[in-house]
Structures are given as structure tokens and as C-alpha cells.
């Protein structure tokens, strides 16, 4: 196994917080900087990474055939046409869950790390076998959460499990941040969440309708070149992951109308 390959688990505990969307956008953003990037769909039960990347019609073989040695790794890898530095290793049949073991996952990731600089593993929701298999093959992790009580609680549980499994570093991405709701104190702030979870913040992603538009089309935001709030956030996260210092977007400075200014005034701490 190449020691320089960054093997990063993207996990959350709770479903629907944006793991797969982050994996797709981060994969594209990294590949655009010229590093060879593989995205591995480890969500064998409910795979979707192929769909978000627009690669669902180009799958011939999957991780399952690679493990059964009925095809070579490069036959199963789906190279992205517009971004050839990015390849997807699709999830196999959901029945894989019945026999897949941590060893199998480690074998796949080991094969990938011979050919790629970054391996992003899209983890299934939950903390059961699928999660454990994915953790066993990972070196570092990004925990995705939303500023909502259930997502933060599940993230905390996952962080505990990552720590006991020796995953390091573990960084946080706070997804679906709504600056207006934070300003009116009807949403946990970025500081609230980082204080509670005690993790370094890799980045935040602003709530953005363009995310849904881009998944409809199967063209990740970071590929489409649309300068939307979420697209900027995803690119920033990719840069920070590569060690660049990019300032965080300040949700409090988003929006410049009178109402936004009033909301900010109301947030002033008195004592």
C-alpha cells in the first residue's frame, strides 16, 4: 500500500446529511487540482454516488467483481469523462453486505491506493457492519453533520467510534448552514457545533438550492462551474484538505439587506 495516499472516510452516522454530495463534489474539486482521486461507494445497501456523479449508465463491473477476482480493478473503475483524474469504484449488489468483511474492504482500498493520491470512501449511514468495514480501511475521516440536534448527536457517537479505532485526523464539515436562521438564533451556530463536538472544522457548506439542481442533472456543482454559495464552500474544503489556508466563509456576513443587518444587530451580546 502506498503510504502517501490519503484514505479519507466520509461519514456522519445519520443519513441524509450530505455525505454522498460532499464525496462527489470533493472528489471533483480534488481531481481538478490535478491529483489522482478515487471515490469508493461503500454504501452497498443504498448506493447513490454513481447517480450524483452522473456515471450510473457507465457501470460495467463493481467492487464485488473485483473482490471475486472476476475482473481487474481498472475494468471496474469508471473514469469521469470531463474530469479524467477522477474515478469511481461502484458499490456491488446489496447482497455483498452478507459476506463483506473488514479484510475485503482493506483489500479494495489497498489496490486503489497503489494508483491514486486520494481515496474518498463514501460511508453508509449507521454505525453497524457497513460502517465498521469502511472504518477498518480508512486512515483519516471527515464527519459531516447539519446544525440540527439529531445530526449532531449521531456525529458525536461516530466521532467516539472513530477515536477508539485510531482514525486520525478526524475533521468536521458542517453542511446546510442557513445564515439567516443562525442570525435569528433559530439554528445552532458554527461555534455551537464545533464546541459541542470538539473537532477541528474543515469547512462549512451553506444551504443552496443549486445542490438539488446539480444532483438532478448528475453534474456536481464543483464541475459545472456555477459560482453558487455551496460550490465555493466545496472548493474551499478541497483546498484546505490539501493544506492551503483558506479563510472560512462567515455566515454572519452573508446577506447585506436591511433585514440581515437588523438580525445581526439583534445578535449583539449584551452580557
Amino acid at each position: 500500500m502506498s503510504t502517501n495516499t490519503r484514505i479519507i472516510l466520509i461519514c456522519s452516522g445519520k443519513g441524509g446529511v450530505g455525505k454522498t454530495t460532499l464525496t462527489a463534489n470533493l472528489g471533483i474539486a480534488l481531481a481538478r487540482t490535478g491529483v489522482r482521486t478515487a471515490v469508493l461507494d461503500a454504501d452497498f445497501g443504498l448506493r447513490n454516488l454513481d447517480l450524483l456523479l452522473g456515471l450510473e449508465n457507465r457501470i460495467v463491473y463493481t467492487a464485488q467483481e473485483v473482490l471475486e477476482e472476476s475482473c481487474r480493478l481498472d475494468q471496474a473503475l469508471v473514469k469521469h469523462k470531463q474530469e479524467p483524474n477522477l474515478a469511481l469504484l461502484p458499490a456491488g449488489n446489496p447482497r455483498m453486505l452478507e459476506w463483506l468483511k473488514p479484510d475485503d474492504m482493506q483489500r479494495i482500498v489497498s489496490m486503489l491506493s497503489d494508483q491514486f493520491d486520494y481515496v474518498l470512501i463514501d460511508c453508509p449511514a449507521g454505525v453497524e457492519d457497513g460502517f465498521k468495514n469502511a472504518v477498518s480501511a480508512s486512515k483519516e475521516a471527515i464527519v459531516v453533520t447539519n446544525p440540527e440536534v439529531s445530526a449532531v448527536r449521531d456525529a458525536d457517537r461516530v466521532i467516539g467510534l472513530l477515536n477508539t479505532n485510531g482514525i486520525n485526523p478526524v475533521q468536521l464539515v458542517l453542511n446546510r448552514v442557513r445564515p439567516k436562521m443562525i442570525a435569528s438564533q433559530e439554528m445552532l451556530s458554527v461555534d455551537d457545533v464545533t464546541d459541542i463536538l470538539a473537532l477541528p472544522l474543515l469547512g462549512l457548506v451553506l444551504e443552496d438550492e443549486q445542490v438539488i439542481v446539480s444532483t438532478n442533472r448528475g453534474v456536481p456543482l464543483t464541475l459545472s462551474g456555477i459560482n453558487s454559495p455551496a460550490a465555493r464552500c466545496y472548493s474551499n474544503i478541497a483546498s484546505r484538505l490539501q493544506g492551503e489556508e483558506v479563510p472560512l466563509i462567515d455566515p454572519a456576513k452573508e446577506g447585506s439587506g436591511m433585514r440581515d443587518k437588523f438580525r445581526r444587530l439583534m445578535q449583539t451580546k449584551i452580557f
Binding site: 440540527e148 440536534v149 449532531v152 448527536r153 458525536d156 457517537r157 467516539g160 477508539t164 443562525i182 435569528s184 438564533q185 433559530e186 439554528m187 445552532l188 451556530s189 455551537d192 459541542i196 444587530l265 439583534m266 445578535q267 449583539t268 451580546k269 449584551i270 452580557f271
Partner: protein, 101 residues
């Protein structure tokens, strides 16, 4: 306390929900985090038994360590059967004697 909090108090409106969320999370997480995994508990059990076995002869297989929670207090309860000599005295090891258990 922010300007909004004061205004809410004056108007007798509900506290902003972000505060409520923060307080609820802090409580529930304190509880969640106290939950030791079975693996960790078993490791702790072994280590505690090893330490005790340095001083008195105990039955390593019989020793049990468990977490018991009542109200919001959690206690670590260890039940370590000590071997007795035929005379009934407790078998105390010489200090510094190494344990082979």
C-alpha cells in the same frame, strides 16, 4: 445574553430555539458519552484485575466489573472474589512480588 434574548423576555416570547437545542444536546451527549463500549469495559476489567492480583490472590475468571447507572449518577462496580488460605486468612502477596497471572 443577546439583544434578542432581552427582547424575547420583555415580550414574554419563547426562548430562541438555538439555545434550547444547545442545552438539550449538552445534556444528552453527557449521557451518551458515559456509555462505555463492551470492549473497553472488558479491557478495563482485565487491567483492574491485574492490578488487584499484584496484592492479593484473586480468581481472575470470576472477577466482574460493571457500570451501574442510577438517576444521573454512574458508578463502576467491581466484584473480585479473593482466594482464601485453608486457615481462612486472605492470601496477601509480598509487596513487589511479580504476578504471573
Amino acid at each position: 445574553m443577546t439583544l434578542r434574548d432581552i427582547l424575547n423576555k420583555l415580550l414574554r416570547r419563547q426562548e430562541s430555539s438555538a439555545n434550547t437545542a444547545r442545552e438539550r444536546l449538552q445534556l444528552v451527549l453527557a449521557h451518551d458519552r458515559a456509555d462505555l463500549s463492551p470492549d473497553l469495559l472488558d479491557q478495563m476489567r482485565k487491567e483492574i484485575l491485574e492490578v488487584v492480583a499484584k496484592y492479593v490472590e484473586i480468581d481472575i475468571e470470576e472477577g466482574a466489573v460493571s457500570l451501574e447507572t442510577e438517576d444521573r449518577m454512574t458508578a463502576l462496580v467491581a466484584n473480585l472474589p479473593i482466594k482464601r488460605l485453608p486457615s481462612g486468612a486472605i492470601k496477601v502477596k509480598e509487596h513487589g512480588e511479580s504476578s504471573d497471572n
